[in-house]
């Protein structure tokens, strides 16, 4: 344990204050306008607003759970692991197998599926990824893309290509009345579970001896080995952990929105956007950026609907803009800060 480490809260406030302090007047104006527009949208349709705010948070937390592993693997091993989306998808299908096919409890799936995905991750790391760490990044991308295709075809062979779904326990069904709208209990559950997972990873990296070794490995892998650290073993462990968290994300996503063979691809690309926006190597950045992108994706239509209702200009209400929003956020952030929001003093750097 480490007595000198600043607390997460302090580190976070410092980082945020640092960013706010370095904002240009134009960026400040943008921030103020965004807040004003959001307040306006809330006034016009409070129910829809709160609904989507929560939807964005849930979506953002799922993205964070995939992005964490991506970020860790990229920081530690220098590999862009495209197969991370396949692991997310496997989590969903394993949960379906446990709940939908075998009729066991969702609670069992919540434990079994991530562990099983961790095991698949272990096999991937040992058989394929371990061989490509020292090679050109393009080789890593191609190899993990190949792994993705293999997993996808295997899933199709076992479970078929049709969309599937399964039920969650009664305790997690239904909703909580918030006055302006009702939130699904499962959404709250998702946010809670994701938060616990994120905090656990943060504590592991920042407060334990294992985490210290990992941080050293990210900063200078060769020197870490000169000091007696069997780094390949740590790589395997981190890969396994990243896989399990992505798998957990898959379980939560599938329980709420069902599952299909395309879900891995969609989410892994968005998770890359999250990593890039947050700043490669910064876990804190990935968390902030995941939530930011989730919220932006869900709030943009609300704001546009409100604007078009208020002004009477139907053209404001662009349908299908949701899919574009993450990329718009990425372009904006990269134009202002090419290393991403927190890509400089990141925990993992």
């Amino acid at each position: 344990m480490n007595g000198n480490d600043p607390s997460f809260a302090r580190e976070a406030t410092d980082a945020v204050r640092g960013r706010l302090g370095s904002l240009t007047p134009a960026a400040w104006a943008l921030l103020v306008i965004s807040l004003a527009v959001l307040a306006f949208a809330f006034a016009v349709r409070p129910g829809l607003f709160v609904d989507n705010a929560i939807g964005g948070l849930v979506y953002g937390m799922i993205l964070v759970m995939i992005a964490l592993g991506l970020s860790l693997i990229l920081g530690l091993m220098g590999v862009v692991n495209f197969a991370h989306g396949a692991l997310f998808m496997l989590g969903a299908y394993f949960a379906y197998q446990v709940v939908g096919a075998m009729g066991l409890s969702f609670w069992a799936a919540l434990v079994v599926a991530p562990v099983a995905v961790g095991a698949v991750g272990l096999a991937m790391e040992v058989t394929v990824l371990r061989r490509i760490y020292d090679q050109d990044p393009i080789i890593g991308l191609l190899a993990t893309f190949g792994l993705t295709l293999m997993v996808q075809e295997a899933v199709r062979a076992v479970w078929g290509a049709a969309p599937l779904g399964f039920d969650v326990p009664r305790a997690l069904q239904g909703g909580t009345d918030l006055g302006v709208t009702t939130v699904g209990t499962f959404r709250i559950f998702t946010v809670l579970v994701a938060t616990v997972a994120v905090v656990a990873v943060y504590l592991l990296i920042s407060r334990t001896d294992f985490g210290l070794t990992v941080r050293a490995g990210v900063q200078d892998d060769e020197m870490t080995e000169f000091l007696g650290v069997d780094l390949p073993l740590r790589f395997t462990a981190m890969f396994c952990l990243g896989a399990a968290i992505a798998g957990l994300g898959g379980v939560l996503r599938a329980a709420e929105s069902g599952l299909g063979t395309g879900m891995g691809q969609t989410f892994v690309i968005l998770a890359f956007v999250v990593v890039v926006v947050g700043g490669v190597g910064s876990l804190f950045g990935s968390v902030v950026s995941g939530i930011l992108i989730g919220e932006a994706t869900f709030m943009t239509p609300v704001v546009l609907t409100a604007l078009s209702a208020a002004t009477g200009v139907a053209a404001f209400d662009v349908s299908g803009i949701q899919g574009l929003v993450p990329y718009l956020v990425m372009i904006t952030v990269l134009l202002v800060r090419p290393r991403g929001l927190f890509g400089e003093e990141g925990l993992m750097e």
């Binding site: 480490n2 210290l212 900063q219 200078d220 060769e222 020197m223 007696g228």
Partner: protein
């Protein structure tokens, strides 16, 4: 008796070509030996090959530590056998504090020293335990790099240019530390140096490396007195 470190006809190189063409050197227990040579002679390559780095690739010969071959062992395994390597350029973890840097090596050593025992040798560092290495001066970083190596409580310490780029008074301080490690802690030391004065100040015996071969093995006395030798291989 077998020497503690026995480098025997070591040949090594990079993708661009062979650099070492049969390096022979021996270091006995308790010795403090320097490896001299001009830029590009192959000093760092030799040290890295001994330490088990992924580059250079060893092409021939052998490196034995206490009689056992080290070839084919990864760097962490070499470290685990009791060899601490401080590579060129200090290589402190920039975004870890002094204590964290030392702790990485304490956590992975067989029978490490206690943190306080390590810092006792470096009062300067004890004053800045929470400081990140990237905010430290070159001399402070060099001390941290040596402290980190010392913390594993090694039998042999390999230092690559520990005095490089430091002010004279810091050089003297590090010389004292190295001598202290050798005498008080009973750790055998092999260090690379370009500066003859610094080598003479600490080591008793010197190897001179030139174009990938050991060309001379000399005592301090001969190195001090033989001007032709110094001119020829070291340019001073």
């Amino acid at each position: 008796m077998t020497p503690l470190l026995d480098v025997d006809g070591l040949e090594a190189g990079y993708e661009t070509g062979q650099v070492l063409f049969g390096v022979d050197l021996r270091v006995d227990r308790g010795e403090l030996v320097s490896l001299l040579g001009r830029n590009g002679a192959g000093k760092s390559t030799t040290m890295r090959a001994i330490a088990g780095a992924k580059t250079p690739r060893v092409l021939g010969g052998d490196v034995r530590f206490d009689g056992d071959s080290l070839l084919g062992s990864p760097a962490y395994d070499v470290a685990g056998r009791g060899i601490s390597f401080v590579p060129e350029g200090r290589r402190c973890f920039p975004r870890l504090s002094v204590e964290e840097n030392v702790r990485v090596s304490i956590n992975h050593a067989e029978n490490p020293m206690a943190m306080e025992a390590v810092l006792d040798h470096f009062p300067e560092l004890a004053e800045m335990r929470a400081k990140h290495a990237r905010n430290m001066s070159g001399g402070e970083q060099q001390m941290l790099a040596i402290a980190r190596a010392l913390a594993t409580n090694p039998r042999l310490m390999l230092l690559d240019e520990p005095f490089e780029g430091l002010a004279p008074y810091i050089v003297r301080r590090i010389e004292d530390i190295v001598e202290d490690i050798n005498e008080q802690q009973d750790i055998t030391v092999l260090f690379v140096e370009q500066n003859v004065a610094a080598a003479l100040a600490v080591a008793d015996r010197h190897y001179i490396l030139d174009e990938g071969r050991i060309v001379e093995e000399v005592t301090s006395r001969r190195l001090r007195e033989d001007e032709t030798l110094r001119q020829r291989y070291l340019g001073v």
